[in-house]
């Protein structure tokens, strides 16, 4: 049987080009999809305890049917797994499994497993083949595409890592049926982001059709495919984030600061929720800087609220640190250049741009006011 995915997105990066297959049933057919593209017969599979309990069995069976020996490693679920200690565990496992250059390391899980595993694959033997099987909406539309990998540091999120492109991405839409509503919504924040960056028509389509996207089926696969294509287009133009790619950080500078302020405690805030609040703040701050209308900020906030996402800092349970500390978290963010603050702001619906000379004092006043 040949593998037919409902949708295929090609990421065009010269000799590092690869396909993203999107659709139902891909994990059960992973062996064929992989064996038709890679020669290797040994694969290390890195997963977490939640995802592994459901999908490691079917994946292993599918790989074994192609004569591929599977070397699984199951890690704790959660953001704290993106650490140096777990990175060492993964590289040690991959080396013990004697994964060679034609073999591959497979990430089976959400963004945490994908980022950690991709980093490990990027540094074992200075670069080992790597396959992403993202099982969360967030990972399917964002973190599994584009080659950014990494772990968190004491000083901030994703501050340590490498660019390492996968050889193949299998986005099995069946895995999304087991996500909690909260997790699905968090991933949806990144879907909406692509509309807000430079696809006003897509954002309008989401305003009309978001219930179908949440229900599953064709609208969901369409939303994932448009998102992957949007990210692939940006990455193809700017693989190493020297310019354009920064647009993908819309909502992320505020969002990362809030994640740091809540100590990456997912009970309080998950990444996509931080991005939702961050995108709202970015539009409000754009209005305050007279770049866009307050109506646009209200429209964006209304859509994010409609799907059930948080949009205000005071929705985060527990106490937030003072605005000064939030600003400090922003200035330690990796997008800082020579002490100036860089934000993604907007001039209208789907008209985002990189503003790299934002006065810290304006941001501080704004944060004080919005923190309440």
């Amino acid at each position: 049987m040949s593998i037919e995915a409902a949708s295929t997105v090609h990421v065009d990066l010269g000799e590092r080009s690869y396909d993203i297959l999107i659709g139902p049933g891909l994990i059960g057919n992973a062996g064929e999809a992989i064996a038709s593209r890679l020669k290797g017969k040994r694969m290390a599979v890195i997963t977490d305890e939640h995802v592994g309990a459901i999908y490691l069995g079917p994946l292993t069976e599918s790989l074994a049917a192609q004569g591929i020996s599977v070397h699984p490693l199951t890690l704790p679920a959660g953001e704290k797994t993106k650490s140096f200690a777990h990175l060492m565990t993964v590289t040690d496992h991959v080396l013990d499994a004697k994964i060679e250059r034609n073999d591959a390391v497979i990430a089976l899980g959400g963004g945490v497993i994908g980022d950690l595993t991709g980093f490990a694959a990027g540094i074992v033997r200075r670069g080992t083949r790597f396959i992403q099987i993202p099982t969360s909406l967030l990972a399917q539309v964002d973190s599994s595409v584009g080659g950014k990998t990494g772990i968190n540091a004491r000083q901030g999120k994703n501050l340590i890592g490498v660019f390492h492109q996968p050889d193949l991405v299998l986005a099995d839409s069946d895995t999304l049926t087991t996500l909690s509503p909260r997790e699905f919504r968090a991933g949806y924040a990144e879907v909406a982001k692509y509309g807000l960056i430079d696809k006003p028509d897509f954002f309008e389509w989401l305003e009309t059709n978001w219930r179908d996207v949440f229900a599953g089926g064709d609208a969901r696969i369409h939303a994932i495919a448009v998102s992957c294509q949007a990210k692939a287009d940006v990455v193809a133009k700017d693989e190493r984030e020297n310019g354009l790619r920064a647009l993908l950080n819309l909502g992320h500078t505020f969002g990362h600061a809030l994640e740091a302020a809540t100590a990456y405690d997912s009970a309080r805030l998950v990444h996509g929720e931080g991005v939702s609040i961050g995108m709202t703040l970015a539009h409000q701050f754009s209005a305050r800087m007279n770049l866009a209308s307050p109506d646009l900020a209200a429209r964006v906030e209304a859509h994010l609220r409609a799907v059930g996402l948080p949009t205000r800092m005071d929705e985060i349970p527990g106490e937030l640190p003072p605005a000064e500390i939030l600003l400090e978290a922003i200035t330690q963010d990796k997008k800082v250049k020579s002490g100036k603050l860089t934000f993604i702001l907007t001039r209208g619906l789907g008209e985002s741009f990189v503003a790299d000379d934002v006065p810290a004092s304006e941001v501080l006043t704004f944060l004080r006011e919005k923190r309440g």
Copy 2:
């Protein structure tokens, strides 16, 4: 004052191109050489306790005179510093020093400090600017050129790392005057290697002039410059070691196995000594496989012995593990492809080539015989 180095080698890697300055007095003028090329005003300097005691002062002074703030970190000397634990110490230091994208991380030391620091620079913020100030002959002619960085793993040497090119290399020949004769000889093994790979004239020149190279002065600077140029030429053609670059591993597959077998104990064996024994073994094995004459192997061994380098396994103090264990160390080596053994062998003086289908059984028999 403009900086005039005795010799400059340009490494041509498109937008990642950089210069290697070679000559006396470069550390004292490092500030000017760096400030004329990089805009950043914050630099983390990573060094070890031996090198730092001599050169950290003059380097800091030279950078401070250009208004550059210096954030030094001194680590223990020795191969054991190429570990995950020290990698974490360096990345933590660089993040705490708030080194941004226009700033740089400087490696001041030998190959260990260069490899570790380059790896840290390669992963902080997914790539931070990096300057090499190599203070050993080995680092000047080999490890500081070409962008290979990394640490050792339990399973073998340099198994974890990234390709990360420096922005500048300052090879101050004055630093070689404080090397022990043993250290200088170890670096010389890599100099001789470039002749044996594809520069028979250079090898002949070394046979005649090696005493002048050891004495210092112009012959030494010439030998360093030819070596850097030889490596730069190979790297420019094959940055990521997909083919040609493997030639630089002449002597290294046997050498790494011997280093692993002696637990990286520098009292027993240092890298260059392993390479010297490894190059001799590679020429002897080439003769055994009827690729080259036994006379050539004898000639190569005679030159390496003349300068005082070891060429036989039984010169390594202490007991070596059995040949089977040495072979195992070779097969875990990162140059393995699909279980076949890859060696750099030769067809004549300066006629090395990549042999990627060497039978393990032949190697085992050879190792048994040579181990004695």
